[in-house]
Structures are given as C-alpha cells and as structure tokens.
Amino acid sequence: MSSTPRTLFDKIWDSHVVQRLPDGTCVLYIDRHLVHEVTSPQAFEGLRMAGRPVRRPDCTIAVADHNIPTVGSRVPSDIKEQDSRIQVETLEKNVKEFGVPYIPILDVRQGIVHIIGPELGVSLPGMTIVCGDSHTSTHGALGALAFGIGTSEVEHVLATQTLLQKPAKNMQIDVTGTLGFGCSAKDVVLAIIGKIGTGGGTGHVIEYTGDTIRALDMAGRMTVSNMSIEAGARAGLIAPDETTFAYVKGREFAPKGEAYEQAVAYWRSLPSDAGATYDATVRLTTAEIAPMVTWGTTPGAVVPITGAVPDPTEIDDPGLREQAQRMVDYMGLAPGQKLEGVPIDVVFIGSCTNGRIEDIRAAAAVAKGRKVADGVQALVVPGSGLVKRQAEQEGLDRILLEAGFEWREPCCSMCLGMNPDKLTPGQRCASTSNRNFEGRQGPNGRTHLVSPSMAAAAAVTGRLADVRQLG
C-alpha cells in the first residue's frame, strides 16, 4: 500500500474500486442500496425488460416513505391520491418479484429511508451507500460514503451492485468551540451553508472535523451530514469514533459479538491520516453560530434569529440582487425586517434532517407546560415507527399533545408535500426540514428552516422566536 497520507474519503473510495477504466472512471462497489417508491419503478421495469435479476438482494433494502399518509389508515390500498397509491403498490409488487427485503408500512420499523438506515444498523461505517434520493448524504455521519443517484443508476446498482463514478474532491469543514445555549446541530449546518453558499461544496465530498462536530451525538451528526447536499456537495462525512461505535452496537442489522469487534477494529483505521491534504478547507467557530433561521428560498439565505432580512438594493451583483429581491417578495417579507416576531401559521417538526428521538425530545422540552399559540397548526411527525414508539415510551407524545401539537405517523410528510400534508398558498411555516425552495412544502407556501427547539418556540409563541428567550 502507498504511504501517502489519505483522507477518510480516499480510504473508502480506494477500498471500493473494482476496476479503474482508462479515462479515470471507476467501477465502484456499493455495499448498501436503499430503495424507496418514488425513484425505483422505472429501474425495476428496466430490469424486467432486460430480463436481469437484482444481483445482491442481501445488500438492498426497500421502504415506502414519501407518499405515506400520516393520519388515518396506512394500508396502501387506502391511499387516496392515485399517483401515490400506485407508486407504493408498485414498490410492493417489485420487491416481491425481485426478492428484495422490504419493510412494510404497518411494520414498526417503517420510516423515512434515511432515518431507518442508521437506526436499523443497515448503514455502517466504511460502507458505500446509495439511494435514489439526494439526502442519502445523511448516512455519511457514520463515516460511510453515501450519496444520491438517478433512476438509471438505481437500475445499474440493482443489476451490478456497482456504479460508474469518478472520484470527488476533498473538502474539510472544521468547526471548533462549544455550542452556545439554545444552539444545535441544525444551527451548525445552517451557519456552514450560510458561510460557503449553496454551491460552496460543488464537486466535493465534505468531511466535517473539529471538536464541535466530535461533541455532537449521532443524531446531530446526521443532521449536519444530511444537509451537505444543500451546500452543493456530493456527500458529507464524519470520521467514526467511540460515539459511532456505541451507536451502532446492538442494532438489528449491525454485526454482533465477535463480528462487531472485528468491525470496530477495521472502522478505527478509517479516519483521515495525519498530514492528509484537502482540496479546500473552511473553518468556523461556534462564535459564528446562534439559533439560525432562513429568510429566503435557498438554505443559504440564513441569518441568526436576532438578524434581519437583508436589503437587496445593497447587493452589488445584479444577478444576486435580483434573486434576493425575488426571495424577499416570495417570502412576503420587507428588506430590513427583523426575523424575530414574524407571525407564522404552521410548524413542522420532522423529516430526515430532524425526525429522530433527540429532535422530538428537544421540541418537547420547549413545549412542556406551554400551549401552541392560537391559530397555529403544529405537526410532529416522527421519522420512523421506532422513533414514535420510543417517544411514546418517554411520554413525549403526551407532553406535545397537551401543548396542542398534532402527533402523527412516520413519513416524509410536509417536508415535500407528496402526501396530503401541505401548506396552502401564502401560509408561513417554521420547519425543521432541509429545503425552503419555492413551493417545496406546497404551492406558494413559505418555509423558514429552523432547529427543532426553535420550531417549538415558534409554535408556542405563534412567531419566529429566539428559543433562548424562553428559558
């Protein structure tokens, strides 16, 4: 082996190259393929037309998440929207025909694909993990190379268990310092995107380093890695450490006993070598991180809650000025307006960014003993059935229900509004999801991305509020 110091990305990449083609493209081996109902139908159809089997069903797992209702019957044939029902039923038919392991909707383990991968121990350090979904970057929090792929590539992985890929560049984002009161992983990643911009990571895989990242629990690391794609990066990575090993231990599909020890020994070899170089490095300190809130329609349009909407006329670049003006208009805000105090209509707590038990605990801590403000609809959608069950065992559902929140069944829900949970035109939402694009949560809906505790603070005050003021 060469003695050149390598990054975590380099090590995972090198260990998965099956064949390097003359033009530098690699046949890259894929350890885990997560499949959901929206991007897989044409891939299975392609296999059927070509008479090809799924090469490694034992490396594949499927679940339906995007289209599932969060209330009422969750039997697929009862889904009212025809497009949604057909996508779910098609997945169920395909997994049966091709022998792919599947987690049924009524199974307690069902949930958002990026929540359940780590939760079930399907996603492990050092692996290559793909899914026909851009937020596959979430799994990078375990120290796995995880990225989203298109439908042709889904078919390619199903048929060959490999992808044709060229290596990405390495970017390091180093965050140091202790997070202040009221700040969470969501604020860290929003601050990062605010700093480097939504195209800042293009062409790169980001490795997050520094004591702030090391101090995060796995849920927080997943929140950070999840939004790597929002910075334009192909994937995010966090080196596996004791926190990771403890998290993986005992999970359903994770190695057990002797196998677990062998695995940990290997995982310890993964972190970037001393002296490994990155193509780019960005440094942040926690002094730059406060509870954050987006004001525009890209995740990079973000300020601390104490901040104000920027004045587009003060922007020199004509293109950026026009974009800022369009965002201010769409969001129904005024230049210079303080974000704190902006009235909201809806609160959404959930998604693959913030739908884990830790996120629900954070929301419940703020909600406890308080009431959702009049006229505000506040939704809590656990990321999986296991998260929901855990929360109920801890009594978090009762705290939230007493405060006037709605307690729903697991699904992507209002993150993208493919199921009936949508904003109506003009509604303003404080959301723990990851995208605030125009119409993302419903046509002409307005999204402010925030952390779970900030979302709960918005629910109980009826406004964008500084959670630190609630004590």
Binding site: C59, Q161, F253, A254
Partner: protein, 206 residues
Amino acid sequence: MDKFTTLTGIAAPLPMANVDTDKIIPARFLKTIKRSGLGVHLFDSLRYRKDGSENPDFVLNRPPYREAQVLIAHENFGCGSSREHAPWALLDFGIRCVIAPDFADIFFNNSFKNGILPIRLPRAVCDQLMEDTKLGGNARITVDLERQVVVRPNGEEIAFEIDPFRKHLLLNGLDDIGQTLQHAPKIDSYEATRRAEMPWIPATTG
C-alpha cells in the same frame, strides 16, 4: 437494450431548431412508474389540440410518418432538462435514430444509454434528407451503423462520425449496465475478497 445494427424505415421531418425536452415530453407526464407507455405523450403540445384531439397538421399524425423510426430535425435538438423521459418517449413511439446538425449534451448521452442513435450531419445534408422524406411511403432511408453511412432513397450514401466506443455499445446492444456486466468476473472476485476480509458485513435479508 436492443442492438442497433442496420435500420431501414420511414424518416419524419421536424424542421425546427432547439426542440427542448419539455416539447419532447412535458413535465406533467413525469409522475409515472413506467418508462414505457410515454410514446402517446411524445411531442404532446405539437401533436394534440387543446381539446385532446390529434392535430392533423403535425407530421407524426400523418401517414406514413406515424410509422417513423427516424426523425430529422434542426440545430440543438434535446435541449432543456436532463429527464430521461425524453429518450424514453421517443423510443416508445418507435424512433431509433435522430438526425440533426447538433444535439444538447445530456440528451445526446441519454440517447445512447437508451439505444437511440443520434447522428450529427451538416444542416444542408439534413435539409436534403428532409426533402427526401417528401417521397412519402417511398421515403425509406437506411442507417447502417457498422459502415457508418446513411443511405438516401436514391441510393446515395452519406458518411457520419461516431465515437468508436459508443458504436461498439450500440452494435452489441450494451447499455451502461451491459457494459459494466462485462466486468462481472472482476465484480465476482471483488466480492469474494471482501467476504474473506470483512466477513462481518451483515446481510439485509436478516
């Protein structure tokens, strides 16, 4: 994927430049679970009138072009979004070859992935071929990929260029997957090594 060797069929003229993927297949038909069946929506806005009936003036609604296997167009064919639904729709209609002065990059690549041969020929030649199509049912042209020629109805041969690697894939009916499967022995041995070195990697089959 079907092999592409020699094709003899009806060619339809579409004397338009910048035919974008939205024209080829509008966005509203993307919420589908199939890649087949999109042929009825091919060129939807050109092919159908507001009330849903066929527009009799549109070339693909007229005999003999309803049976067209070759499409001849002007510059920058296939520009716009990266949707693979565009080649899927063409293929489902029966088009296996598009001839134009040039193509948008992504569409050009997506075509090969789906077994469609895009041929670049100078504008004057495209116009000449469009003239040929007016011979109606006699407007059969032949596309011979092996010899890299388009044969006009009068027997004249026009040479075209193609990347040798892509030619190889089409002639052998290899899509990206077929191509990768040629490395199957390498994948097998990679898997065997990995199983030996990392026996702890668990299966998802429980």
